[in-house]
């Protein structure tokens, strides 16, 4: 569905002068530095996949999404989105994709939501029956009934993002780009969004490319992840093997019946100690929780235990550090 080959994007950033008449000298200055926002990235996304795109701020995620949407011209490399080259065939591409930027809205600020949707129907030339069917389906699913007559500027962030996602799907796009859709969204709305996104994906087979900082999004939605850092591709593969490779260290929390002194135990490391509780970290291949609990229980009576799986954030951190 999406083929990206050796994609590179360079930005020329003008060098800001300092000192006297800096503003005027800046006007005539031709000096600039080159920044590689995306550097030689290749990946492909299959029909109906949900792929999570992870990376730090400024890693090049949004730049890639913009190039896939056709609003940014690649410096080199090639992109096809369902056979269409996004930049050269911007209009054709626009009709088959839906784009949601969590921090930006495509809706008109001052008009009631339904009016924005009506306008989109005209812009995208959506068939009336399709438009009505999509509205009838998505509005209750996203809980937009109460805001449908409200202008966007009066909405909460969660409502706005949901409205934007609905807007992006009105023309039944084959591909949906979600750029940080859950940023700043509360837990309840987030759950709505997760359920909605997976349902759209399974029901309509919409291919979804999702960038996020929220590892909850990745765990809930994506079976495959692409990690980039400073414009380079760091990892491309399924979530489970990433966890196995970079999330091998788990933690075990043990609550003792009474306070005990710090002690050492084979194959695990004491990382934290607080009142009756102690935390140990251990490598997946070297120890099992059961084995550790037995070993510890022999020395001090245990009241309670908890196994803490590594969160994706720390996995990604390991991934960054490993390179």
């Amino acid at each position: 569905m999406i083929e990206v080959k050796r994609l590179t994007k360079e930005f020329k950033i003008p060098v800001q002068k300092k000192g006297q008449f800096a503003a005027i000298r800046n006007l005539f200055s031709g000096e600039y530095t080159v920044k590689h926002a995306v550097d030689d990235i290749s990946f492909s996304v299959g029909d109906g996949e949900i792929v999570g795109f992870i990376g730090k701020n400024g890693a090049g995620k949004s730049t890639t999404i913009k190039m896939l949407s056709g609003i940014l011209q690649p410096t080199s490399g090639s992109i096809t989105v369902d056979g269409i080259r996004p930049f050269e065939q911007r209009m054709e591409n626009a009709k088959q994709i839906g784009v949601v930027f969590g921090q930006k809205t495509q809706l008109w600020w001052d008009v009631p939501l339904i009016e924005s949707y009506r306008l989109l129907r005209e812009i995208y030339k959506i068939d009336t029956a399709v438009y009505q069917k999509n509205l009838d389906r998505y509005i209750p699913m996203l809980g937009l009934e109460e805001v449908i007559n409200k202008p966007v500027r009066q909405m909460s962030l969660g409502q706005r993002v949901k409205s934007d996602i609905c807007a992006a799907l009105l023309h039944s796009p084959k591909i949906l780009f979600l750029d940080e859709p859950t940023i700043g969204v509360d837990v309840v709305s987030k759950k709505y969004l997760h359920d909605f996104i997976s349902e759209i994906n399974s029901e309509k087979g919409t291919t979804i490319l999702l960038t996020t900082h929220d590892m909850g999004d990745i765990e809930k939605l994506c079976s495959r992840v692409v990690v980039i850092d400073s414009g380079h591709l760091m990892y491309d593969g399924d979530l489970e093997s990433m966890i196995a490779r970079f999330g091998a260290v788990r933690s075990l929390m043990i609550e003792f019946e009474k306070p005990v002194p710090d002690f050492e135990i084979e194959n695990a490391e004491l990382t934290r100690s607080e009142g009756n509780r102690k935390w140990f970290s251990f490598h997946r291949s070297k120890a099992t929780p059961l084995h550790l609990v037995h070993a510890i229980d022999d020395r001090f009576p245990i009241q309670d235990i908890a196994i803490i799986e590594p969160d994706i954030e720390s996995i990604v951190r390991n991934l960054y550090e490993s390179s």
Binding site: K95, Q106, W108, R118, R121
Partner: protein, 272 residues
């Protein structure tokens, strides 16, 4: 090709509806505008009356014609002032970083801005200009011009709206590069007011200023339709004046398309 760029009447009307909401939402600002327009018409009418009382032959047209001209100048400014142009929307979108969302839509950007602008213009005309014009008509007992003049005026007004749009659109594109619109708008409006004949009729300008105002496109916006309305440009003069407007429409259309392509390429390469 047309359909591929999303240019058609239905889309245009949808934009118009949308603009109606945009304007009616800010009621306070709307009523302030309304009062301002009416007061301006009232005062320019009286200023010209006082001038004529002191020196009847100075301007070369009758007092009735001059008052019609001045009142029309205020009325047209209420819809054609650069602050109502698309450049402000463009700048705001650039500042918010949401201009990409506009460029991304499968509709020609210039048409999109034009349709949006026409929507706001139509709403302003119906609710702002028309009531004040009717009131001014009674107040100064203005007469409607003869039919040929009036038809010529309507044609000329349509051209004026298009010329004004193109100039505003070009400023909007420039603002995408300079990241500033307030100063550009302010300077543009100062030049526009002076050289367009909106406040002072161009035919009383002395030699050099007259030539400059003839060369510039600004008179297409106010002076030409208003002169046609009061019958100062009639017959062959009217056709000539319309010809000048057509010429500028073509020239500005081509140059704005070229500029749009250039600016978009720049934005799309630089990422804004």
């Amino acid at each position: 090709m047309r359909a591929a760029s999303g240019i058609d009447l239905r889309t245009g009307i949808a934009f118009l509806r949308n603009e109606f909401y945009n304007i009616t939402i800010y009621r306070v600002s709307f009523w302030l505008n309304f009062i301002y327009t009416f007061l301006m018409m009232y005062s320019v009418g009286y200023v010209w009356r006082a001038l004529y009382a002191a020196n009847p032959g100075a301007v070369g047209v009758s007092l009735g014609q001059m008052i019609s001209y001045a009142v029309l100048g205020v009325a047209l400014e209420a819809i054609l002032h650069p602050r109502n142009g698309p450049q402000n929307y463009i700048m705001e979108q650039v500042r918010k970083g949401t201009i990409e969302m506009d460029i991304m839509k499968p509709v020609d950007f210039q048409f999109y801005m034009f349709a949006k602008n026409m929507g706001s213009l139509a709403v302003r005309f119906l609710f702002l200009v028309l009531p004040s014009l009717i009131a001014a008509c009674f107040l100064f007992s203005l007469k409607l011009p003869a039919l040929p003049c009036f038809l010529g005026f309507l044609c000329s007004l349509a051209c004026s709206v298009v010329v004004s749009f193109f100039l505003n659109f070009i400023l909007g594109l420039l603002s995408m590069v300079t990241m500033n619109i307030k100063n550009i708008n302010w300077g543009y409006n100062a030049v526009l007011r002076f050289f367009s004949g909106q406040m002072v009729p161009l035919w009383i300008f002395p030699g050099v200023l007259g030539i400059i105002s003839d060369i510039l496109p600004f008179r297409c916006i106010y002076a030409i339709p208003m002169s046609i309305y009061i019958g100062n440009d009639a017959g062959v003069d009217m056709l000539k004046a319309l010809g000048v407007q057509f010429f500028w429409i073509i020239l500005l259309w081509i140059s704005s398309r070229l500029l749009m392509k250039h600016v978009f390429t720049r934005v799309m390469i630089q990422g804004g």
